[in-house]
Amino acid sequence: MKSELNAPQRSFMAELSPVLIMAAILVPTYFVLPSKMMAAEILIMAIPTLSFILLLGYTGLLNFGTGSLFAVGAYTAGILLARHNVHILLAIIAGVAMSGIISIIMGYFCIKRVGLIFALLTLAFNQLIWFIIWQWKSFTGGPDGIWGIKREILELGIFSINLKPTFNFYIFVLILFLLLFLFVRRLIESPFGKVLMGMRESELRATAIGYNPETYKWIAFIIGGLICGLGGALFALHQEYVGEHLAHWSTSGEFAIKALLGGTFVLHGALIGSGVFIFLADFLNRFPVLAKAGAGLLVLGAIFILVVMFFRGGIYGGVEKVYNFFRKK
C-alpha cells in the first residue's frame, strides 16, 4: 500500500519505451514524406508547440508569446553561427539560454495577470520583440534577416557528424526532440507537474493548499521559453536563414493552431499537430489552383474549425474517442 501512495516509479525501460516507439515510427517517416526537408521541419515546429501545450494544456496559460521566444532562440543561434562561427552546440545552448532570459522578464510581468489579460500581455511582448527585431537593422538585419548560417560538421570530441545532409540533420533533430519529449513527460508526471495541473483546474484551490501560483506559473513559463529557444535555434540551422516573420504574432498563432489541431491535453498533440499542419499545407500547395488563390489556407482553416468543433482534444482526442467507442461495442 505504501508504495502505491508514493510517487510512481518506473523502470528505465518503461521510461524509455514510448520514446523508442516514437523513434521507430519517426525514423522511417523521413523516407515516406514528399519533401526531405519537411521531416525535420515537423519535428522542429513541434518543439514550440510542445511548449504551448505545456503552458496551455497542463498549466492553463494561453501564451501568445511563443513565436517571439522561438525567434529569440533562432536569432541568437543564427547570429552566433553566421557572424562568429561558434560551435553548433554552443550556438544552440546560447539560443536556449537567451530565450530563457527573455522569458524570465516576460513571465515576471505577464504571470501577475490571468486569463485574457495574460494572453494579451504575452501578445504585446511578442509584438514588442518583433518590433525590436524589425527596427534594429544593424544587429538583426531588420526585414532582411540573418543570412549565411552554415549547417556544417558537428564536432563532438572524437566523434563528428556532417549535418549538411538532410537525413543526418533529421536524426540530430530527432535525438534532441526525443530527449526533450522525455524531459517534458517526466516534468508533468513529477510533483511539480501535478501542482501545475492542479493550478490549471483552480488557482484558488492550489493556493488554499499552500502553493504560490505565481511562482509555479513563472517557472513553467520559463521552461516553456527555454523549449521555444531550442526550437528556434534548430530552425536557424534547418533554414540556414532567420527572418523577422518568426517573431510575428502569426507565428505564435500558428503554434496555437498546431497545438489545438493535435490536442492540447497530451504531449503527442505537438507532434501530431505539427505533422498534420505542415503536411497538409505542403499537400494543398501542390495544387496550382489552390496555391494561386491562397485557398490552401482556407482548406486548412476549415479543417481546423471542424477539429476544434467536434474533437475537444484535437486529432489525438478524436482518435481516442473513436477507439473507445469501438472498444465498448
Binding site: M1, S3, L5, N6, P191, E201, R205, I209, G210
Partner: protein
C-alpha cells in the same frame, strides 16, 4: 488560544460584508459558525484564509496577526481550509490529490487519513471526477489533513449529501476531534452542528450575534425564530 478574530471588517469590492466579527477558537476545540445564508459565515472563513480582503481588525493565529498574509503563506502556518462545494482537483487521481498538499511526505500521513475515510482506499487510482459526492467531500477533507494542518476550517461539509453520507462525514469529523484536531466548522445542518460542536457562534448581518450551547441551537424557539428561520 489558537485563533482569535477581533473586530474583523471585510469587503467584497465596495460591499461591506463583515461588520466587526470577533470570535475565539481554543486548541482541541470544535467551534461552529451558524446562521442564515448570507449571514457572513463563509466570508469569515475566507477572511481568515486571506481570500477576502480584511480592511480592519485583527486575526491572530497562534499569537501572530495573519491579516495581509497570502493564502499559501497562511496555509503553510498550519491553517487548512476545506471550501464549500467539494473543491477537489477533478483531473487528478485520489492519490495525486492526497499527495499534492505535501509533496515530500511518505505514505504514512496518507495511510492515517485513509483509515479515517476508508471508502477512499478503494478509489486511489480513480480521478476526482469519478467519485461520488460523499467521496469527493471526504477527499476534500483528507487532502487538507495530510498537509498536517493544526486548525481546519470546514465550510458546510454536509451540503448536498444524502443522510447516510452526512452520517459518515459526521463520524469522520468526530474521529478527528477525538484525535485532538482543532476545527472551525460552518454548518447549516443544526443537528450535525449540535452533535459535533463544543461551542457555537451565531452569525447574523456580518457579525457574531451571540454564543449558544448545543441544546440551545436545537431547542431555543426564540433563537430559531431570530437567526435560523427563513
Amino acid at each position: 488560544m489558537m485563533l482569535q478574530l477581533d473586530q474583523v471588517h471585510a469587503y467584497y469590492g465596495k460591499s461591506h460584508i463583515l461588520h466587526g466579527v470577533s470570535l475565539e477558537v481554543n486548541k482541541g476545540e470544535l467551534v461552529t459558525l451558524l446562521g442564515r445564508n448570507g449571514a457572513g459565515k463563509t466570508t469569515t472563513l475566507k477572511s481568515i484564509m486571506g481570500l477576502v480582503a480584511v480592511r480592519s481588525g485583527s486575526i491572530q493565529y497562534k499569537g501572530e496577526n495573519i491579516v495581509g498574509k497570502e493564502t499559501h503563506q497562511i496555509f503553510r502556518r498550519g491553517l487548512g481550509y476545506v471550501p464549500q462545494g467539494r473543491r477537489i482537483f477533478s483531473s487528478l487521481s485520489v492519490t495525486e490529490n492526497l499527495r499534492l498538499p505535501s509533496l515530500r511526505q511518505d505514505g504514512e500521513k496518507i495511510e492515517w487519513v485513509l483509515n479515517i475515510f476508508p471508502p477512499l482506499r478503494e478509489r486511489l487510482n480513480n480521478r476526482g471526477n469519478e467519485l461520488s459526492g460523499g467521496e469527493q467531500q471526504m477527499l476534500a477533507i483528507a487532502r487538507v489533513l495530510v498537509s498536517g494542518s493544526e486548525l481546519i476550517l470546514l465550510d458546510e461539509p454536509s451540503e448536498g449529501l444524502a443522510p447516510l453520507l452526512v452520517g459518515a462525514i459526521t463520524d469522520a469529523i468526530l474521529e478527528l476531534k477525538k484525535s485532538g484536531l482543532t476545527m472551525l466548522l460552518v454548518e447549516a445542518n443544526l443537528t450535525m452542528a449540535s452533535n459535533l460542536g463544543d461551542r457555537h457562534y451565531v452569525v447574523a448581518h456580518g457579525l457574531v450575534a451571540c454564543e449558544a450551547s448545543s441544546r440551545e441551537i436545537l431547542e431555543d424557539v426564540e433563537l430559531h425564530r431570530k437567526y435560523f428561520k427563513l
